[in-house]
């Protein structure tokens, strides 16, 4: 059976050129960058080259890039260490209702530890309205953390206006850019972002490595205590093969960004339009134009997401859903509820996220199989009466 992987927002395959770049750093150039000898110096050079590759992708200075174990750690470090390092700025932080749990749960952890948290609502397309940030911001607001693009519905947040509002109030701005890093242009300087989290395995790099951009002059600290690595910002011996892979993936992403985005936008539009044309009672989610390239998200009424995923899987098609059964809780995804979908519609969500290896044929195959699957599940559903109801 042909495999059709359409879950690139979950993770991506490591690009072969990325993997090739990593290999020497396991068993040959295995030095510790903190060592003074030749092997240590070689590892140090690789580390700093990766830092330059990553910095170039977002218009940062390499000294502003700090490697972490991934997006989750970067989010934790940005939010926790900023709040702990700037007590005079205040104890209030602001986030949004559609953040990844790496941000949301970190904010809730701080709230439990005595900080004040405001979670902003979003509109039906998943955007934070600047007015609501203006209304929520206070003299003691130290940090605003709002994601660049949402992992479930694909909406890209227009950040600039939000950043400006935060800065006017004297607050710093962090963004979780895990879904956009390497996929759409990000210039941290022109947007004015103070901290940005990214992850390697979403852009054809290895798992277990990510980074945090911290603008020069922004006061933060380390979550881990021990050695002086990463300019004393992250104790622990660096994951050199992973970091090399991340750097290589970032360089590759930069070189093909506009071509790949154009390709994926076209393919994604075909898939989304095809689904909406062939399957009635389907609700597209997220912002229709300004979205992560190749991200398609919809809700099918009268059916449940896990059932759709397992049926698709039986045809070799791999996707994801925000239904309760796939979220590991009794509620469907907080993102789908935050954009105002009722529970019964959110349960029928499907996310198809395309990647560089997906072809027109893949899209055609999904468009052939998916209407049958939804039709069969609806025939089985007591909520569906054959199409009469809306």
């Amino acid at each position: 059976m042909r495999e059709i992987y359409m879950d690139h927002s979950a993770t991506t395959p490591v690009d072969t050129t990325v993997f090739d770049a990593m290999i020497p750093y396991y068993s040959y150039d295995y030095g510790n960058p903190s060592s003074v000898h030749a092997k240590g110096r070689s590892a140090r050079r690789a580390l700093e080259k990766s830092r330059e590759q990553i910095a170039a992708l977002i218009g940062a200075n390499p000294r502003e890039v700090f490697f972490t174990s991934g997006g989750t750690e970067a989010d934790n470090q940005a939010i926790i260490s900023y709040m702990l390092s700037n007590p005079k700025r205040g104890k209030h932080l602001i986030s949004s209702a559609i953040e990844h749990h790496a941000v949301l749960d970190t904010c809730l952890y701080l709230e439990k530890s005595g900080f004040d948290l405001t979670v902003l609502p979003v509109d039906e397309l998943g955007r934070v309205e600047p007015e609501s940030l203006k209304a929520a911001i206070r003299p003691d607001t130290a940090l605003v953390t709002i994601m660049h693009a949402n992992n479930e519905i694909g909406t890209i947040q227009p950040l600039k206006e939000l950043v400006d509002i935060a800065h006017q109030a004297g607050a710093a701005f962090h963004t979780d850019a895990v879904q956009t890093f390497g996929k759409v242009p990000i210039d941290v300087k022109s947007i004015g972002i103070d901290m940005l989290s990214a992850s390697s395995h979403k852009l054809y790099g290895p798992k277990g490595v990510g980074c945090l951009y911290i603008k020069k002059g922004i006061k933060t600290g380390s979550l881990f205590h021990g050695g002086p690595q990463e300019n004393k910002m992250r104790a622990g011996t660096e994951n050199i093969p992973g970091i090399v892979g991340f750097g290589q993936a970032a360089e590759l992403a930069q070189s093909r960004m506009s071509d790949l985005a154009e390709y994926l936008n076209g393919l994604g539009k075909r898939l989304r339009d095809g689904i909406l044309e062939s399957i009635p009672h389907t609700i597209p989610t997220g912002e229709p134009e300004n979205r992560v390239p190749g991200s398609v998200s919809v809700c099918f009424r009268f059916v449940e997401g896990e059932s759709i995923l397992l049926m698709l899987d039986s045809y070799g098609i791999m996707a994801s859903s925000g239904s309760a059964c796939t979220s590991g809780s009794l509620d469907p995804s907080h993102v789908l509820l935050a954009i105002g979908l009722p529970h019964e519609i959110a349960h029928g969500s499907l996310r198809l996220t395309l990647g560089k290896d997906n072809s027109e044929d893949d899209v055609n195959d999904v468009l052939e199989v998916l209407p049958k699957i939804i039709g069969n599940l609806r025939k089985m559903s007591p909520l569906y009466n054959g199409g009469g109801s809306s």
């Binding site: 009268f302 059916v303 449940e304 997401g305 896990e306 059932s307 397992l310 049926m311 039986s314 239904s323 309760a324 059964c325 590991g328 009794l330 469907p332 009722p342 529970h343 019964e344 349960h347 025939k379 089985m380 559903s381 007591p382 909520l383």
Partner: protein, 124 residues
Amino acid sequence: MYSQKVMDHFMNPRNVGDLDIADGVGEVGNPVCGDIMHIEIQVQDNIIQDIKFKTFGCAAAIATSSMVTEMVKGKTLEEAERITNRTVADALDGLPPIKMHCSNLAADALHQAIKDYIARRNQA
């Protein structure tokens, strides 16, 4: 995650649909929690002659519905009443722990259908 039996009943569900004439109807769950199981039975001489189901829900919800219809078809009402959500799950070689509560309600739907049948019979 799921046993082969669950996947078999999910991919090839038995007794899906509606009965032309239902003697008893049972429905449990609600769309908010993401599972609704609807069961219809046809009873003759105290025996479940025919049974159909419709389910909105995950693979576990569909598989348990399918399994319960297979387990009670041709059985007496007393035998059917003794079937529990637990025995349905066991007949499917178990369910993941998280599914035991939310998606394992098929026996409840069946019991409601039997209750409905008895109530209608007593009224007649």
